[in-house]
């Protein structure tokens, strides 16, 4: 499916994407962005679900359950915290707030 070099290409392109997105970002957004990217790696939840879905022995099931619990915490917590941080960027000027809603 994804063999060696194709994987490397995906890795390289995604890394450049991440780098380019963050370049030239105002200081005031550092913490919300850290929190936002923290939410995005909550996608680990999907992997944990797959691991638990394939688990067979009790040990694997226990580890998988732990993984899903932690991953779900990462995703949900990351979302709530980021949303609350960005809530503070609600502009007082109605003109600027039109696409922020």
């Amino acid at each position: 499916m994804i063999d060696g070099f194709l994987a490397l290409y995906i890795f390289m392109l995604a890394a450049f994407t991440g780098y380019e997105i963050i370049a030239r970002v105002p200081v005031i957004l550092h913490t919300p962005l850290m929190s936002g990217s923290n939410f995005i790696h909550g996608i680990v939840l999907v992997g944990a679900m797959i691991a638990l879905g394939h688990a067979q022995t009790p040990v694997e099931i226990a580890i998988g359950c732990l993984g899903v619990l932690l991953g779900a915490g990462n995703a949900a917590g990351g979302y709530v915290v980021t949303e609350r941080m960005l809530e503070m960027f609600k502009s007082s000027k109605p003109a600027a707030g039109k696409e922020a809603k």
Binding site: M1, I2, A7, I10, F11, A14, F16, T17, G18, Y19, I22, A23, V25, V27, L29, L33, M34, S35, G36, S37, N38, F39, I40, H41, V44, G47, M49, I50, G53, H54, Q56, T57, E60, I63, G64, C65, L66, G67, V68, L69, L70, G71, A72, G73, A75, A76, G77, G78, Y79, V80, V81, E83, R84, M85, E87, S91, S92, E99, A100, K101
Partner: protein
């Protein structure tokens, strides 16, 4: 149902696209609030698609664990005070690292179980993970190592910011001990990756990896924690990407790599905003208590014209005090 795998793949593609677009929107103050919603939709799509994967067992257990995890984190994230946000980010980040490590552990254990079955002469019944290649093992081990370090390190960062741990643990030769622990974890990891899949070896590997994260973070003061959390955030992203390669899940690979790269750059930017280098933050360990170091963090901040403009645009009130700098310096 030949169309189902294609739909699931399309969902993962959509999720990856939404993550990247969401992150892009989050990097501008004007569109930031929309960005998190976009990324949230992507996450929802990916999770629902995963439930629909055809060869999954334990579906009830998965659903229960997801609901419990989401409910607990949602509740704690809602009711925590605004000033306690940084440690919550650390906590949730640690959870992500722990989840990545757990995936690595589950995969390694299932490989180990399969290997034992073969040695016993029994038939090969392990799930779909028949013969892991060296590259797959190495990536599982690497992801588990980085995820474990991020997990224990983030928990220490959380405890420090929460005020549960206000002592710094410094002893002579600490750096050498830390490096030894890391070297031990790497050697054990290399042994596992070369095919020595024994349970004690895997357990020892995880213990050492977790210990390294713990010991690396303990000497760092509270004021430097945001930079450290950002670094662990990048670590977790990388760990997620590696486990994504192991599980052959494109959404994990792309989201994890993007976060890994963005987090690394963000860490550099944050360290620069504090007039420090990352090496200095990680290994400097000077400045006595957390309270004392805080004064350093707030006082000297170089600022560019565009940053000043953004801050003023979103400030509720701007007060211009002529002569404040002179008065503050008691000149």
């Amino acid at each position: 149902m030949a169309w189902l795998p294609i739909v699931i793949k399309a969902c993962y593609f959509l999720a990856a696209l939404l993550f990247i677009l969401g992150l892009k929107r989050m990097s501008s103050p004007r569109t930031a609030r929309g960005g998190i919603v976009w990324a949230g939709v992507g996450m929802l799509v990916a999770v629902i698609a995963t439930f629909a994967l055809p060869d999954m067992h334990n579906r009830g257990l998965i659903l229960a664990a997801v609901l419990i995890g989401v409910a607990a984190a949602w509740w704690s994230g809602r009711r925590v005070a605004m000033t306690a946000m940084p440690q919550m980010v650390a906590l949730y980040n640690g959870m992500g690292g722990g989840a990545a490590a757990a995936i690595g552990a589950a995969e390694l254990f299932s490989y180990a179980g399969a290997a034992v079955t073969l040695l016993d002469g029994g038939e090969f019944t392990a799930s779909g993970t028949a013969t892991p290649g060296t590259a797959q093992l190495a990536l599982a081990v690497l992801g588990a190592l980085i995820g474990s370090v991020s997990f224990s390190g983030s928990l220490i960062a959380f405890a420090k910011l929460q005020g549960w741990l206000d002592k710094r643990f410094v002893f002579p030769g600490q750096r050498a001990v830390n490096m030894l622990v890391l070297a031990g974890a790497v050697v054990l990891g290399a042994m596992i990756a070369s095919g020595q899949l024994s349970m004690p070896l895997i357990v020892a590997f995880f213990v050492l990896a977790l210990a390294f994260g713990l010991m690396m973070t303990l000497p760092i003061g509270g004021a430097d924690m945001p930079v450290v959390i950002s670094l662990y955030n990048a670590f977790t992203g990388l760990a997620v990407a590696f486990e994504g390669f192991v599980l052959q899940n494109e959404a994990m690979i792309i989201a994890g790599t993007v976060v890994g790269a963005a987090g690394t750059l963000l860490t550099q930017l944050m360290a620069k905003a504090m007039n420090r280098s990352i090496g200095n933050v990680l290994f400097g360990s000077f400045g006595a208590a957390a309270g004392e170091a805080q004064a350093i963090g707030g006082s000297q901040k170089p600022i560019e014209a565009s940053d000043a403009a953004v801050m003023m645009a979103y400030a509720e009130r701007v007060v211009i005090v002529p002569g404040y700098g002179m008065a503050g310096a008691q000149a």
